[in-house]
């Protein structure tokens, strides 16, 4: 038993560590790790991953919420969209052939890779939409010099639509869909990148939690796999977040993106072989 347990803990620790350092989250790494290295079927890997993503989201959110980077109101509005998608996705995951899931997973990994390589910069808008104003969604953050910068929010419906998709992918594939969420907030809604990342991280808890509850209540979660995976991923993510401020973010991002593309190719190849 101890060899299996140790192996799973090590695998999960590495996935959590890499997920946290790359900013892509543990899910995109733990699912392929379980499928390729531990010979687990997709459904077991997805269930285990969803639960561990809930844990890392909660752990990482603590500091962001306390220090005011998370826009809680935006999170609560958009969670309506992600929770709808996630429940639908998790219910569908039981019916869709594993080959399709593996293929979709490869696609989502490529989206993550594209996301992490894309040029990033904040484009703030002077006036928010009427709906954003009514819901009091705008916020303030400090810029590099410590001066307060006010940001307004636009295109809430477009952002919410993308959040439904992020939810579906999360429930289907066991990932947090952080790359899609940040894109919706940063690109469509013009929320500053750092606020988008913190808010996405916070929302991932509800998205993955919705999927995890479907899997758990359906009895589709293997305790002997999920328990060590949840502990390992959380510990790895904690260490990663401690090291991150001292690391060269650009080099890390490049290295992890290459790893991501390689895993995407492997998952895609498995899907093709399975057809």
């Amino acid at each position: 038993m101890l060899e299996i347990l140790g192996g799973l803990l090590g695998l999960a620790f590495a996935a959590g560590f890499v997920g946290s350092l790359s900013g892509l989250g543990g899910g995109v790494f733990i699912v392929p790790a379980l499928v390729i290295a531990a010979h687990m079927p997709m459904v077991v890997a997805i269930g285990a991953s969803l639960i561990s993503v809930v844990a890392t989201s909660a752990g990482a959110s603590v500091a962001f919420v306390r220090d005011g980077w998370t826009n809680l109101k935006v999170a609560m509005v958009l969670e309506c969209a992600t929770v709808t998608g996630a429940v639908a996705g998790a219910l569908l995951a039981g019916m869709i052939p594993p080959v399709v899931l593996e293929f979709l997973f490869a696609l989502m990994m490529l989206q993550s890779a594209y996301f992490s390589l894309r040029k990033q910069g904040d484009e703030l808008v002077p006036h928010g939409d009427e709906i954003a104003r009514k819901l009091d969604l705008a916020g303030d953050i400090p810029d590099e010099s410590g001066k307060t910068v006010h940001y307004e929010i636009v295109q809430l419906p477009a952002g919410a639509a993308l959040m439904v998709l992020a939810g579906i992918m999360s429930g289907l594939l066991g990932i947090g869909s952080g790359a899609l969420k940040v894109m919706a907030m940063d690109y469509f809604m013009h929320i500053p990148l750092k606020v988008s990342s913190a808010t996405s991280n916070f929302m991932i808890g509800v998205t993955a939690g919705a999927g995890a509850l479907v899997f758990l209540s359906r009895g589709n979660v293997s305790m002997s796999v999920s328990a060590p995976v949840a502990l390992g991923v959380t510990a790895g993510a904690l260490l990663g977040s401690r090291i991150l401020p001292h690391a060269n973010a650009r080099v890390l991002r490049l290295v992890f993106t290459v790893i991501l593309i390689l895993i995407a190719v492997e998952m895609g190849w498995r899907a093709v072989k399975g057809i």
């Binding site: 038993m1 101890l2 299996i4 347990l5 531990a38 010979h39 687990m40 079927p41 077991v44 639960i51 809930v54 844990a55 909660a58 959110s61 603590v62 500091a63 919420v65 306390r66 220090d67 005011g68 809680l72 109101k73 609560m76 509005v77 969670e79 309506c80 929770v83 709808t84 996630a86 429940v87 998790a90 219910l91 039981g94 009514k134 819901l135 303030d140 410590g146 808890g205 509800v206 939690g209 919705a210 999927g211 995890a212 509850l213 479907v214 899997f215 758990l216 209540s217 359906r218 009895g219 979660v221 293997s222 305790m223 002997s224 796999v225 999920s226 328990a227 949840a230 502990l231 959380t234």
Partner: protein, 135 residues
């Protein structure tokens, strides 16, 4: 990391920012302790059962107890597998708990738009659980 000083911050927001992290951290620690205890019990009481279940998972074969009440009884009796399951359930309740907390706060503050949003999210989480146990 810099803390954002915002004099215009509402009471509602202030309460959320203080209590949400405490709620998240507490549940996380409790579930981690339950999971570690469960794995320890598994290693000392029934390591063979663990290996059997691991190989069953590789065949997508889930051998689980049926009802939640049954599960709690088994966990209380120290059945390692049920202790693990309770730990994972507690962990999954983290988002549910913090949405429920915001929901109650928004009711107190009479912020009805956000009462509606959080109620919808809660309903979604509970629906997922119910649909999962039926389907």
């Amino acid at each position: 990391m810099a803390t954002i000083a915002n004099p215009g911050i509402s009471e509602e927001d202030r309460i959320l920012r203080v209590w949400t992290p405490i709620l998240l951290r507490t549940i996380l620690i409790v579930s981690a302790i339950v999971l570690v205890v469960g794995l320890f019990l598994m290693a000392t009481k029934s390591p063979d059962n663990y290996v059997t279940r691991f190989h069953a998972a590789q065949r997508a074969d889930f051998i689980e107890p049926t009802t939640f009440v049954q599960l709690l009884h088994l966990a209380a009796a120290g059945d390692p597998h049920s202790v693990l399951m309770v730990g994972l359930f507690v962990l999954t309740l983290v988002p549910l708990a913090r949405v429920a907390f915001s929901f109650l706060l928004f009711i107190r503050e009479r912020d009805f738009a956000y009462v509606a949003f959080t109620a919808y999210v809660l309903a979604g989480l509970i629906t997922g659980m119910l649909l999962g146990s039926i389907g």
